[in-house]
Amino acid sequence: MLQFLVRRLIVAILVAATVMTLAFILTRLSGDLAISIAGPNATQADVEAVRKAYGLDRPLTVQFFDWVGRAATGDLGESYFFKTKVSKLIGERMPITITLGLTGLVIALLVSLPLGILAAVRENTALDRVVQMVALLGQAMPSFWLGLILMITLGLQLGWLPISGTGSWQHYVMPGIVLAFSAIPALTRLTRAGMIQAMGSDYIRTARAKGLSRASILLKHALRNAAIPVVAIAAVQLGFMLGGSIVIEQVFALHGVGFLAWESIGKNDFPVVQAVVLVLAVIYVALTMVADLMNAVLDPRLRGP
């Protein structure tokens, strides 16, 4: 187990390093930072002053390692635009993004688990095929398009839910549904496959031979085993959803980390963009580790003898 964790940690560090390098290179590719910071009316002298003030006159490698060194100690630098610490900016907006991600995950699980179980119990019936088709459709639907459709129907025509902002929990429902849609197909399929496999297993035959109730057989004995991979994938899907929130927060005007990233890209606010990418990557890696831990918690066989 310890060896496993160490290996995981090394992978995590490698991923973080790769992401940092990519984020750094991509932000530099988009033109001369000093010019965009100084603004359209700046003179050549202003630009030079900015270049010096922000340390952009140094060689790229020096800038890179300076950034990496600071990031490693938790200092993500200062925003060019907001003139405040990037860590503070991200910290303020993170709760919104996390709330959104968790809402999406909960909705996804509330839909996928019953659908998957139902499809498995009715394997190869019309119902099973309908469920699989719905899952397929969900996968094919672009999230911004689904977001707009929901806004028009639930928001504007029916008036059930607010279409933008973060004032109340209702504000998270629509974007949550949109985020959930991206995870539902995979989670439903996995639940269905896991349940079918479990229901055909010898230990379920034993459970039936013990005269247990149908509910106990399905939910206690079969789902418990079928859920192991589902929980792991759900954690990974949460990572995807947090990344996907860059688009969704934009569509629904939720001022979370995704929104911040979007704004900052438009303003060439590179410390923020770099930091958001890094933070999301670290969260993603952390979630995959959580998935492994959940696996070990749920599957006694992984806990060792």
């Binding site: 230990y203 005269g211 247990l212 418990r224």
Partner: protein, 318 residues
Amino acid sequence: MSALLEVDHLEVNFGGRVSAVRGASVTVERGETHCLVGESGCGKSVTALAVMNLLARGARRSAKRLAFEGQDLTGLSDSGMAHLRGNAMAMIFQEPMTCLNPAYTVGSQMTEVLRRHRKTTQRAATDRAADLLARVGITAPGLRLGQFPHQLSGGLRQRVMIAMALMCDPKLLIADEPTTALDVTVQAQILRLLAGLQRDLGLGMLLITHDLGIVARVGHRVSVMYAGEVVESAPTAELFANPKHPYTKGLLRCVPVPGKIRRDEPLGSIPGTVPRIGPGFEGCAFRERCDFADATCAHTIPRHAASAAHDFLCRLPA
């Protein structure tokens, strides 16, 4: 009083193509051990699963009569059957490695069956589980109760299965090769335990085995299966002394020293293999391998009685 278990003309087929059981009849009396023997694939496990209504999806079961303590099982609802299973009739499976749920401890799996069928506390159920584990020869039962199946060897898992089947004091125990995963001393211990339970509780047992040594030691009655049919059935001593069906004779000939049954001797040393039979098959299924086969063997075969309790399925006269 009716017999404990009556199976008359049981038929099981899979997807309408494979006839796994073709009119098999078996009766188990209270307190009797009825052994079911035969080569691999002849339908022993399918017969047992059909009685418990635990056949895989796609299997079709029918019978002239299938009754437990006089109660018809074919018309019984799922919940009615669930009420009997694990309770008055219990089963031990052939596959000890995979029969326990990997996600739950031995203790939780053993106690849940008792708590399903009896009103007891968790404490009392745990005590009973520990007691039964000790009786099937497991040392440190307290420790085992807290362990997960993957922490146990195959032999231990099989003994846990046996103990679990006994949790509710069943009247009928269907045991599908319950001792194959165990070494000889444990095997003897388990057989003694089952024999003891039988005496004390009047437990009836349908014991499926490959081991003629076990049959000779514990079987009151033996039924020999071949290709989904019971081809001969008799009290144990009579079957060993006076086998009638050529297949039974073949099985007994496979045992090296006449009169003395050697343990661990697998069946099926008769040349050839069990044919796979589809619906509409007629005549004796053994005729390809039988030394006495002739043209009449391709037609419907009569069942002869060699004595009041001994019958066989062959064209040859008694």
